[in-house]
């Protein structure tokens, strides 16, 4: 391979990005060296097994990826503003929508959700950490290096360009010559393995590590949704693993799974992709439902209406999510019987979802609603998600879907569910749990600016797309001709996208502003919360709770406050606390995965084997490791508790 092929060349945008990347890296290295922070970085972050720190790192990555995916989106909107625009060429546009989709789903929505669940779930169930802290670190670093591998395709080798669904035969060697789709296959594989381990980890954590008294039906709703999400991850991600492996074999070793000759079958890819892909949608939406439940209940000042029905409906949604995948390709001609069956199962999902909507509404009824930023995001979710939901039901009707399929109607629908669902939830959760993560509150005034800009922008951007779809505009068109009547609505959509971009900038400024001037949270409970995460200090000491809390009912902390005036810790109840040791191995093993993956992408098999050997070495070392963690003595706990409550 020539160097000119190795580095992506030819576009001023790319060169500018190259320069920006190099400058940022130099800047980071300089700052770390100048302030002598390398050791701190290694000891406190890169080797940590603390679920709260891991969660924070997930969220930082997610916000960075939101930026990257958002820039992709703005570039696309700019190109589509007017007919026959020459802002981006076809190839560049194709790469951008591919990376936009992949990044937003897998490297933005997933890590944001996983970050929040890392921070919150052990606190909500009154645990010291997750069941497998070492594995948790490995999960994060695999995700991180998977995402890194995917992102460097932008400057090294070239981005994938076959859509985030990577349908064959378009994604085969024959039609995608470059390494772009190798990146897709390998990077998603690496981060997917991390996600699978997260699923197992949190399932065991929730099932086995709850505080005494916390029966399943006393679990906070967010924890419930994570439990069910873990089940989805555990059974859906192996399907992706296999699909990506088959893709890798087809692209690197010339096998015939999805090829056009020797019996290969491109439809099989679509089938496998969506067996994973549909549960994946629920993997990012169920936790969102959990976040909204927590926020709505807290700021309405009431317990969640119809808790049991809420639990039942998430179980129902999760069950149905595995038997609806064909609705993503009704138009492949599987026949009316198949389409009808999957049409009905898909529509059935609307029933438990409707139950949830009404329970949220009735949680508001008779409440005392405080319009905080977190609450605004959660309230805005309801009407916007309903628009996305009802259009989803329309799409589920197979015969009608033939008219919506792959059109902008579909684009509008899934952005209405994914943005109004997942993204609003991430923002709600971020504002809600921010004091718990960092000990200070995000500025409310700036938060509301972000909310209104983003929410209004979102509607202006995506609502017209329903009509563009009905006018015959299909997704993934890099341009369109004049005289189709699509221009006015496209202009409107671009304006909306710009507003969303401004909203994001305000959010970033808010993070900076609040870190400097934000109100410190001394109580640990700034929102008058209901669940156990508010019973401990903000930010919590690394062992979370000095003694394990005892749960008496749903909304455990609320009950404690009513009955005992708060979470009472008597010094004589303190016992030495067992904690896991930090380890650098998850980090360097993930580096080895990255190296192996990079080797596979470029078919440098020697490099891939070297990486693989280091992975095996890491596993062997882990097997022989005899580290049982350490105990924190009682005096140390007392000292830390005093320091934490002083807000040091």
């Amino acid at each position: 391979m020539k160097w000119s092929e190795f580095f992506v060349t030819g576009e001023p945008l790319i060169y500018a990005a190259d320069v920006a990347i190099v400058l940022t890296m130099v800047g980071i290295v300089f700052v770390l060296t100048y302030f002598k922070k390398w050791k701190w970085l290694w000891n406190e972050w890169l080797t940590t097994v603390d679920h709260k720190k891991i969660g924070v790192m997930y969220i930082i990555c997610a916000v960075l990826m939101l930026f990257r995916g958002g820039v992709d989106a703005l570039l696309m909107r700019a190109q589509l503003t007017a007919p026959n625009m020459k802002f981006l060429d076809a190839q560049h546009y194709n790469e951008i929508f591919t990376t936009h989709g992949t990044i937003m789903i897998l490297f933005m929505a997933m890590p944001f959700i996983i970050g929040l669940m890392n921070i919150v779930v052990p606190l909500q169930i009154g645990a010291r950490d997750v069941a497998f802290p070492y594995l948790n670190a490995l999960s994060f670093w695999l995700f991180f290096f998977g995402a890194l591998l995917f992102n460097i395709s932008f400057v090294i080798g070239g981005s994938p360009d076959a859509g985030w669904t990577a349908y064959f035969p378009l994604a085969s060697n024959e039609f995608s010559h470059g390494v772009g789709n190798n990146y897709y296959a390998v990077a998603l594989q690496i981060s997917g393995i991390g996600t699978l381990m997260t699923g197992i980890n949190f399932l065991v954590t929730i099932l086995k590590m709850r505080a005494p008294g916390m029966t399943l039906m006393r679990m906070p709703m967010f924890t419930w949704t994570i439990l069910i999400t873990c089940v989805l991850i555990i059974f859906a991600f192996p399907v992706l693993t296999v699909a990506l492996a088959l893709m890798t074999f087809d692209r690197l070793f010339d096998t015939q799974f999805f090829t056009m000759a020797n019996g290969g079958m491109s439809m099989l890819w679509a089938n496998l992709f969506w067996i994973w892909g549909h549960p994946e949608v629920y993997i990012v939406i169920l936790p969102a439902f959990g976040i909204f439940s927590e926020v709505v209940s807290t700021f309405a000042g009431k317990r969640l209406f119809g808790y049991k029905a809420m639990v039942g409906s998430i179980v129902g949604i999760a069950f149905l999510s595995f038997i609806v995948w064909v609705h993503h390709f009704f138009t492949m001609g599987a026949g009316p019987a198949v389409n009808s069956a999957f049409s009905i199962t898909t529509m059935a999902i609307a029933i438990p979802t409707g139950v949830k909507i009404f329970n949220w509404l009735f949680t508001l009824r008779k409440g005392k609603i405080r319009f905080t930023t977190a609450m605004l995001w959660s309230l805005a979710f309801i009407p916007n998600f309903v628009i996305g939901g009802v259009t989803g039901v329309m799409l589920a009707m197979a015969a009608a879907d033939y008219q919506y399929h792959n059109s902008y109607f579909l684009i509008a629908h899934f952005h209405y569910v994914l943005i109004a669902g997942t993204v609003f939830a991430c923002f709600a959760g971020l504002h809600y749990w921010y004091p718990k993560m960092f000990g200070h509150i995000l500025n409310e005034r700036l938060g509301k600016w972000t909310f209104w800009l983003f929410m209004i922008g979102f509607n202006i951007c995506f609502f017209p797309m329903y009509f563009l779809g009905l006018m015959g505009m299909t997704r993934r068109m890099y341009t369109y001709s004049e005289g189709l009547g699509w221009t006015p609505l496209n202009v409107v959509a671009t304006v909306g996208a710009a507003l969303m971009g401004i909203g994001f900038i305000v959010l970033c400024y808010n993070i900076y502003y609040s870190a400097r001037y934000g109100e410190r949270d001394m109580t640990g409970d700034p929102w008058n919360g209901r669940t156990l995460e508010w019973a401990t200090a903000s930010p919590p000491v690394h062992y979370n709770f000095p003694v394990t809390p005892v749960v008496e009912d749903l909304d455990a902390y609320w009950v404690m406050k009513k009955k005992y005036g708060g979470f009472q810790v008597k010094e004589e109840d303190l016992k030495p606390i067992h904690m896991p040791s930090n380890s650098g191995r998850p980090f360097w093993m993930s580096v080895a995965f990255f190296v192996a993956g990079f080797g596979l992408v470029f078919k440098w098999f020697a490099l891939a084997i070297v990486g693989a050997l280091f992975i095996v070495l890491g596993l062997i070392l882990r097997s022989f490791e005899d580290d049982d963690g350490y105990y924190i003595p009682i005096d140390e706990i007392k000292r830390m508790e005093r320091a934490a409550r002083k807000g040091a």
Binding site: L207, F235, M265, L272, I275, F322, I323, W325, A334
Partner: protein, 99 residues
């Protein structure tokens, strides 16, 4: 707590499981290659034999239902088999028109 009472002096459970596995394997082989049954019947019978044999492994050798997590483990395996059936049967059904 089934993990507790394992004090028998002879591994009867294992031997019975092993013998049954061998019987089922040879029976499946015979049904497939020498029974002369119609194809559909052959498929049904050998799949049923396979499922029985898999359950033997799970219960006789792996003690899926033992320990304080026995119910979770059993439910987990049952659900994973459900997913397996959905994936396999679903894929075949969806794509039978091109098979």
């Amino acid at each position: 707590m089934g993990a507790n009472g394992h004090h028998e002096s002879f591994p009867w459970k294992h031997i019975i499981g092993f013998v049954l596995s061998l019987v089922l394997t040879f029976a499946a082989l015979w049904v497939a290659l020498s029974s002369g049954l119609p194809l559909k019947a052959v498929i049904v019978i050998i799949v049923v034999f396979a499922v029985i044999q898999a359950s033997l492994q799970l219960f006789m050798f792996m003690h899926v239902n033992e320990s304080d997590s026995g119910r979770i483990q059993t439910f987990n395996m049952a659900y994973s088999f459900f997913i397996a059936i959905v994936v396999v049967a679903g894929s075949i059904w969806v794509m039978q028109f091109v098979l």
